[in-house]
């Protein structure tokens, strides 16, 4: 039996699918981003994967959950590409994203965040060509590898700090 629940809600100028009543489902950050976009504030577009998906992650495990939401995430990513005019993982104007937590109750700094996600050799090259700003691109790359390495891959912060100190 396929799961037809909606797990992904888009937000961005005039396009927010979430609303203020959905705090439990979208978390505080997600709901307020949708809200701000509706109010006409300049919010970078994006999408929120629901707290229900998180519950399913713990019930079903990663593989089943990811199979369940893969289609929705891919389609939201596509909408995101369209609304920003950028492409995820490709030049000439590569889309990078932030991935952040957000529960219904505020828990500042307790859960994980990754910034500059989507950087690799190809997108870094494209970004350099686009901006001509080498410091910016390299700085973002360094941040991303450190953050992703730490948060997702579990490499101790100290390993990177140590290396940075040497330089």
């Amino acid at each position: 039996m396929s799961d037809t629940t909606k797990h992904v809600y888009f937000f961005g100028a005039g396009k927010s699918e979430g609303s203020a009543s959905m705090r439990e489902l979208l978390g505080g950050k997600g709901v307020n981003l949708a809200d701000m976009a509706e109010l006409g504030l300049p919010v970078p577009p994006g999408f929120t994967i629901t707290t229900e998906a998180c519950a399913k992650y713990y019930e079903l495990g990663r593989t089943k959950l990811f199979d369940t939401i893969r289609g929705e995430v891919e389609s939201a990513l596509k909408t995101l590409e369209e609304s920003t005019g950028k492409t995820f993982g490709k030049g000439p104007n590569p889309l990078l994203v932030s991935v952040r937590s957000g529960a219904a109750a505020s828990m500042p700094g307790m859960m994980d965040t990754v910034l500059n996600l989507g950087l690799n050799d190809e997108t870094a090259e494209a970004l350099l060509k686009l901006t001509g700003n080498e410091h910016f691109v390299k700085d973002s790359q360094r941040r991303f590898i450190q953050m992703y390495g730490n948060v997702v891959l579990g490499v101790d912060h100290a390993e990177f700090e140590h290396e940075l100190d040497k330089v």
Binding site: G28, K29, M111, N133, V152
Partner: protein, 761 residues
């Protein structure tokens, strides 16, 4: 930079055994999974536990297109509050930013962030000793560097506040001169800020009064009522490794002093002008004077309702209890901290934070909290909405005065046991009088029983002869205690200025009045002209296996009715001395109505006698505590004899759940973690079980006596969730320690507002 990147990549490969993922889609799923997984990381779990965040399904994941604050001098990132989160002031736009930076940099503390507004920037410079010239050059405000962006942002600030009708905490990024909003949420704030913002928002017409009352967390009010450490000194102490111990945050506030290990030392050191912290395994009523003398109390055992914790809260004194790793050696006057190479000697300075349970080495500076005007405005609003009365638990005129200042409408529980101990302000021989009484009480009782049973005149004469001396001592002790008790009651009734005062007759087991240490027993023997062995024998004879279920409460009054009569007489005579006073007599630990009938008869007889002697009329209500489960179940019968019930929920919890208050601390945490009970039932009333008993007693009691007055005087009377329960079951009042009175007032108002909103919906 390129070299660092290559090094980073090789670190990742070395540590994970795989090259850094190049595929963005793989990266994305990795990021999503790690956010989901972080919901249950130990840090997040602990945070939810500490902040009582329950019943949430998990975290959402927000995937958002990046904007870059690190694109150069025309880019920036920062955080801002729509009002000052520490004072609630709305003088300028509060916030910090960094040029050419990304998200985490502002909070990471690698670079010094700059202030958003010019006014904020100047204030910051002043506080940090930075000259205006240097500020304008190196710490320029956003308002000065990017005035147009600042104006745009300021507009959003106002728009968001109006939309959410609350103070906002916002994150923003400026990418190449364009502003983006990355987050907004209700800002965390201090209690002072919470009350100020709530009242300001009412004045600005953004929220109504009920909403303002709902906006302040009652538990947070604690912050406004006790001394606190000066800003920053705790961070400094922690950084320099002075955080040495953690226990339960038993009674809020901050205190610094020198370590002493006995109540007597606390008193004598204080007399010569020293600030002391009393460090004990656990305290007992003997230690009261030492606790009064100390700045704060630290104990190694005992929970939130241990003697130290309860008494300290009543006194408004800072207390950290149950610091299990503290190993005290009274003989050597040192305490070791298990697992750490730290020894506290007598005279060492330590500092306690009773609001967090943290203990620091050394002296940390404290200051009095500022009671801003908004605090009293919120309290007045709360009084407007609440139905539930709020009284205090107070045993001294000083406590009564403080409680009245905090808005208590009377005393719901006046414990008389502390009045039998000498203290610095009353060194009148109370302790010796009660000990004299106890010394012969049992003999007097037994001889009288013998006398009643015997038939022969000869034997009777012999018994009378043997009874003479002990009875004289017994009566003399009562006579000595009467004026002292009367004086105590006069002082309290005067402080109450016509407000009602429920006085509980003697409650604790008699051994609590005895010295248990060898020195104490020697001293008592000397004072009373006895052999030490006699004192020791007496103390041993008073030993009980389960004192909390032993010879205490009205059971004492059953054995020694003269004590009941003496206390009632003292109350009546005090009532005559203080015109307009409203004392009420409360019989403790009743299990069957006949106990109440018996004690009430003594009281009524005494009242009539005093009335006759003074040719006056007294209107003194007589009621009982409901703390034995049997009393709750038979409340209909008990109500026939009682003018009021007061639920003693500490004992009702102890007996109803079968948890010893003094032992439950060792395992109750496991029960809460396993989800068997949602909270420690000594802190938050177990509504289903013990609350069920309260409900049954209230219903059965009022069935026969609809105007039966109902109150609660356990520790729960000042705990917001329990207060809400009391409101819902229709009690007339809650009673709690003076320092929790404002909390109870606010919680009672919130309960009423919540109920009204539910009824509407």
């Amino acid at each position: 930079m390129e070299k660092v990147i290559q090094e980073y990549l090789s670190i990742v490969e070395k540590k994970t055994g795989k090259p850094f993922p190049q595929d963005p889609v793989e990266q994305l799923w990795g990021g999503i999974e790690s956010v989901f997984a972080s919901w249950n990381n130990p840090r997040a779990v602990k945070y939810r536990e500490l902040n009582d965040i329950r019943n949430l399904r998990g975290t959402a994941v927000n995937v958002q297109s990046m904007v870059y604050g690190n694109m150069g001098a025309n880019s920036a990132t920062g955080v801002a509050f729509s009002r000052d989160p520490s004072t609630g002031a709305n003088d300028f736009f509060y916030g910090e930013y960094l040029i050419n930076a990304q998200g985490e940099d502002v909070v990471a503390g690698i670079r010094t962030p700059q202030q958003i507004s010019v006014d904020g920037s100047r204030e910051w410079a002043k506080a940090h000793g930075v000259s205006e010239e240097e500020r304008a050059k190196n710490f320029t405000s956003l308002e000065e560097i990017m005035p147009e962006i600042f104006a745009e942002f300021d507009g959003y600030r106002e728009k968001l506040e109006r939309h959410y009708k609350d103070m906002q905490d916002m994150e923003f990024t400026i990418e190449n001169g364009k502003l983006y909003m990355l987050q907004t949420r209700g800002g965390k704030r201090t209690a002072a800020a919470a009350v100020r913002i709530a009242t300001d928002l009412v004045n600005e017409g953004l929220i109504d009064e009920a909403t303002a009352v709902m906006r302040v967390d009652p538990n947070q009010l604690d912050q406004l009522l006790h001394p606190v450490f000066k800003k920053g000194v705790e961070d400094e102490a922690e950084k320099s490794g002075k955080m040495i111990l953690k226990g339960l945050n038993a009674s809020p506030g901050a205190a610094s002093g020198r370590v002493v290990f006995t109540a007597a030392d606390a008193e004598s050191w204080e007399k010569r002008g020293e600030k002391v912290i009393l460090v004990r395994k656990e305290t007992s009523p003997e230690d009261i004077a030492g606790m009064v003398a100390a700045q704060g109390i630290l104990t190694a055992t005992g929970g939130m309702t241990s003697h130290a914790a309860v008494v300290a809260r009543g006194m408004g004194k800072c207390c950290v209890a149950g610091a299990g790793s503290l190993l005290i050696d009274y003989a050597e006057k040192v305490a070791k901290i298990a697992g750490k190479n730290i020894v506290l000697k007598e005279g060492d300075w330590i500092s306690l934070n009773g609001s967090t349970g943290i203990v620091y080495a050394g002296e940390l500076e404290t200051e009095d909290p500022e009671l801003v005007g908004a605090f009293s405005i919120i309290m007045d609003l709360a009084d407007k909405f609440r139905h539930l009365g709020v009284r205090m638990n107070a045993d001294t005129p000083g406590e009564a005065e403080r409680g009245v200042r905090f808005g208590a409408e009377g005393i719901g529980l006046c414990r008389t046991e502390h009045m039998f101990f000498d203290n610095p302000s009353n060194p009148e021989g109370r302790t010796i009088a009660i000990r004299r009484l106890i010394l012969v009480a049992d003999t007097v009782k037994k001889l009288r029983q013998e006398y009643a049973l015997t038939g022969s005149d000869e034997e009777r004469a012999d018994i009378l002869e043997r009874l003479k001396a002990p009875e004289e001592q017994y009566n003399a002790a009562l006579e000595a205690l009467l004026p002292l008790q009367r004086k105590d009651f006069v002082g309290i009734l005067e402080a109450l200025d016509g407000r009602p005062c429920t006085i509980r007759l003697l409650d604790p087991p008699l051994h609590e009045f005895m010295p248990h240490s060898k020195e104490g027993q020697e001293e008592m023997a000397k004072e009373m002209g006895l052999e030490v062995s006699e004192v020791k024998a007496l103390v041993d004879s008073l030993h009980e296996f389960n004192p909390m279920l032993g010879h205490r409460g009205c059971r004492l009054g059953m054995s020694y009715p003269e004590v009941t009569a003496m206390q009632v007489r003292a109350i009546c005579e005090a009532a005559i001395k203080v015109p307009g006073s409203r004392p009420e007599i409360m019989i403790p630990l009743v299990g069957d109505v006949k106990e109440l009938t018996f004690q009430k008869e003594i009281a009524l007889k005494t009242i009539s006698a005093v009335e006759l002697e003074n040719s006056t009329k007294l209107d003194i209500k007589i009621g009982t505590m409901i703390e034995v489960p049997r009393a709750a179940i038979t409340a209909d019968k008990i109500a026939m004899e009682a003018d009021f019930f007061s639920f003693g929920t500490n004992d009702l919890t102890q007996m109803g759940m079968g948890f010893s208050r003094d032992d439950a601390g060792r395992f109750i945490e496991e029960y809460v973690q396993a989800g068997i009970y949602e909270y420690d039932p000594f802190q938050v009333l177990d509504q289903e079980g013990i609350g069920g008993l309260v409900k049954i007693a209230a219903e059965r009691g009022r069935m026969f006596k609809p105007d039966l007055k109902l109150g609660i005087c356990g520790e729960h009377g000042g705990e917001p969730r329990s207060v809400e329960f009391c409101h819902r079951v229709g009690l007339n009042y809650v009673s709690c320690s003076p320092f929790r009175v404002p909390i109870a007032r606010l919680a009672a108002a919130q309960a009423a507002i919540k109920e009204a909103q539910e009824n509407k919906a």
